[in-house]
């Protein structure tokens, strides 16, 4: 499961074609349209439908359309129970999800099916920017639809989980991040970077109870104790507000730089060996197929490679920039959310039988031999 911010949906109804913002939308003006809501990756045959008779209502915000129309209990009589008798019950279930989200007892994200832009939709945006057309091949139905997908989010790791995750992965994560910024930014830029809010607890030299990034501070201190990181020299008792003299408040030590260089070499070697198994088919065995299965983790496990660490290194090697450049990276580090992509990759480990694995591996070996020739 991708990160919620990267999630898109490509669901189709059998016998029909849904086109996001189709070019002929204008030809549907003046006609009623539907709001369709499905849960997660459930098929569209399971979906909830609500017909909006007012053609101009597509200009309303999505939130208004949900709260005052599709998921408004007082409009239950407008549900098409002649075709879908279960709609009233489903409506009530969806209302309860919304209410739980308002009470913050549940994480609910709303996406638009077929929206090429990843991530949840802004519910205050007008619906007309997200309308699709749904046309049945037999000509029976052809209508506009706001095709929403409700995703109930997995719970965040609890405190104990986060502690364990930091024990294992904080060092490579932070080293990678610091290396990324020290390479990307000029010296002045890096110095300014170290003065940013998330680092105040660490760079200031005190463990403050109002430090919003306590996990980050603690892990940076561990790197310092391992001589991978060094804070700027300062005398005892200096205030947490350092004078901005253009120097970074901390930097990687040579040991830290060697450590990160070694991790990058390791990641590169892993990717060279295993990326070829990133999209395979089992029958017939083939590498590099579109939309295939990711057999990398299973291959690594079969080779007795330390899977969790390897997946971590490879993930940050490929998408580290995306993780670190997001504005809330520090918050996600602190909560353990930065590790989510890694953890979820492990869930999708294949379990091919040994004969399939051998066949796929042989293809990889053949590819090596051909490259050598």
């Amino acid at each position: 499961m991708p990160d919620p911010g990267d999630l898109t949906f490509e669901k189709e109804l059998p016998g029909a074609r849904t086109v996001f913002q189709s070019e002929d939308l204008a030809s549907y003006e003046g006609s009623p349209w539907d709001i369709r809501i499905s849960l997660g990756d459930a098929p569209l045959e399971d979906a909830f439908y609500f017909t909006i008779e007012d053609p101009d209502a597509i200009h309303l915000p999505i939130r208004v359309l949900l709260e005052q129309h599709a998921l408004n209990r007082e409009r239950r009589a407008e549900l098409d129970i002649a075709r879908y008798p279960d709609l009233p019950n489903i409506q009530e279930e969806l209302v309860q999800y919304l209410e739980a989200q308002h009470r913050k007892t549940l994480d609910l994200l709303v996406y638009v099916n077929k929206n090429p832009e990843p991530g949840p939709v802004d519910l205050d945006a007008a619906a007309d920017g997200f309308i699709a057309t749904c046309s049945f091949e037999d000509g029976s139905f052809d209508y506009r639809v706001l095709d929403l997908v409700f995703v109930i989010c997995p719970p965040s790791p609890d405190d104990m989980d986060v502690r364990e995750l930091h024990e294992k992965y904080a060092e490579p994560c932070l080293l990678w991040m610091l290396d990324h910024y020290s390479n990307r930014l000029d010296p002045e830029g890096f110095a300014a970077f170290t003065r940013r809010e998330p680092f105040k607890g660490f760079a200031g030299g005190s463990y403050s109870f109002d430090d919003a990034n306590r996990n980050l501070t603690e892990q940076l201190k561990r790197l310092e104790m391992d001589d991978l990181l060094k804070r700027k020299d300062r005398s005892f008792g200096v205030s947490s507000e350092e004078k901005d003299d253009g120097e970074p408040l901390f930097r990687l030590t040579s040991k830290g730089e060697k450590r990160i260089a070694k991790m990058k070499e390791e990641a590169s070697a892993l990717r060279k060996k295993y990326d070829r198994f990133g999209s395979v088919s089992a029958y017939p065995p083939a590498l590099g197929v579109p939309d295939g299965f990711d057999a990398r983790i299973q291959m690594m496990r079969a080779d007795n490679v330390k899977v969790n660490r390897s997946v971590f290194l490879m993930t940050f090697d490929t998408m580290g920039e995306l993780a670190f450049e997001s504005e809330d990276w520090a918050e996600r580090f602190d909560s353990g959310g930065l590790y989510t992509a890694v953890l979820e990759a492990l869930v999708y480990e294949t379990t091919f039988s040994s004969d399939i694995l051998d066949a796929i591996r042989a293809l990889g070996d053949n590819a090596d031999e051909e490259a050598d020739l």
Partner: protein, 466 residues
Amino acid sequence: MKRLIFEDVAGNHARYPLIAAPSLERWNYDAFLDYMSRPGKASWDEGFLVAPEDPVRHETFRYLVNHPGATLNDPVRFEVDGRPLDATRPFSLYAEETHIQIKREAHASPLDPETDVDLAARHQQMYETFPERFDRVFQALFDFENDGPTDRDGRRAECFADLRERFTDRYDVPGQLRLLLAIAEIIHRAPFENGSKFMDGVWFRSGYEMWENMARGFGGVCSEKASALKFVCDVIGIPNTPVIGSREKPAPDFEDQMLDYLRDRGQRRIPLRAQHLFLELEVGGRFYLVDPTGGNIPLLFLTREDAEPWFRAGYRARMVYQTEQLHLRRVSNTIGDAVLLISEYHLPDIHFDYVFKQGLGVLIQPDLYIGGFFDWGGERRAIMQTHFASLGRSQRLPYPLFLNDENADDDDRPETLGPVEEVRQRIKGLYPNPDYSGDITLVVQPLQPNFWRRPNISEELRALLG
């Protein structure tokens, strides 16, 4: 102790073991029939040196022997090693185990399902045979302290026996409905599973047997769960009508076609394959559609007025991957009973059919599906693994785990899968085709929370029930 193992070789190959005292060496056929005419407990009390291994299961056997027409069977006869047993040839019980084949008389009399078949009577008789036992089973599942109804005289029911006595007179309609909803919830919560069929060697459980299975923490499929609800309704006197769900729309003369099919002993092509079975109950002169199936189907408890659109539009249901659209039809009690009796007595492969052909697998629960396939290895294994992985991928599910002989001894297999491996071994052991040389692979597929969950209960009932 010696064992006599009766196997219904002319039916579904169900086995009914009896244990006999070591001193018993011969058993006259007439004495055997006399024994079979009495409920299991009574016959022990009367000095027979034979007892059933499972007294409840024994009643299924007795019903077949004593009321074959009621089970849609011809009268039974018995053989040992191809030699018929009768008044002139008693059972020889010198061996530790004696195997006796149950066969049929050849079309001794015509079948008349409308007269002969009556599950309600059987359920009442079953309860009367084991009243205390059923009370204990029911007590293990039903919270009388919080959900026990109060009768019109203010007395709260404390056990099932309290409910049985003039139930519809003593309890007002809201009280009856509260009880029936609580019972439907119990059945709904029980696992949707077929694993216990293989573990226990019982391919299809009767309504009473379902209660015992649920009390042990197991469950069944839709028709078994419907039968469990029917059992209680029949015993306390709640009229009920079966409702079938099918992918094909039943023909207008479906009932007549089914009766002809039954009279013909299943020689004709079955007019319709039903994919789903549940009940409509009559309470206080009104009717309520109840589906306690569970798995990933929300509990249904609707007034007839709310249920009618379902009969017109069809019933959307998704257990795992795909959404089915089923036509619903109320059928006569004869037809509903016949569907259950055919499943119980006539289909030797029904458990394999549920798991493999219908794709219901070993278990379906909100966060997990355990399916299976016949695994010939090599390319065919790869095809099936790809098939299941692709089904899961259509919903972005984690890659499934495939359990088979190849990884049965893997040290890193989670311990929690131990019972699943036991079931797999039993499935392999029970598959009756001696020529099958392949393996059985079970597919462990975690599911995402993308099923509708809210119980579908009519609003007027929610208000009434609180």
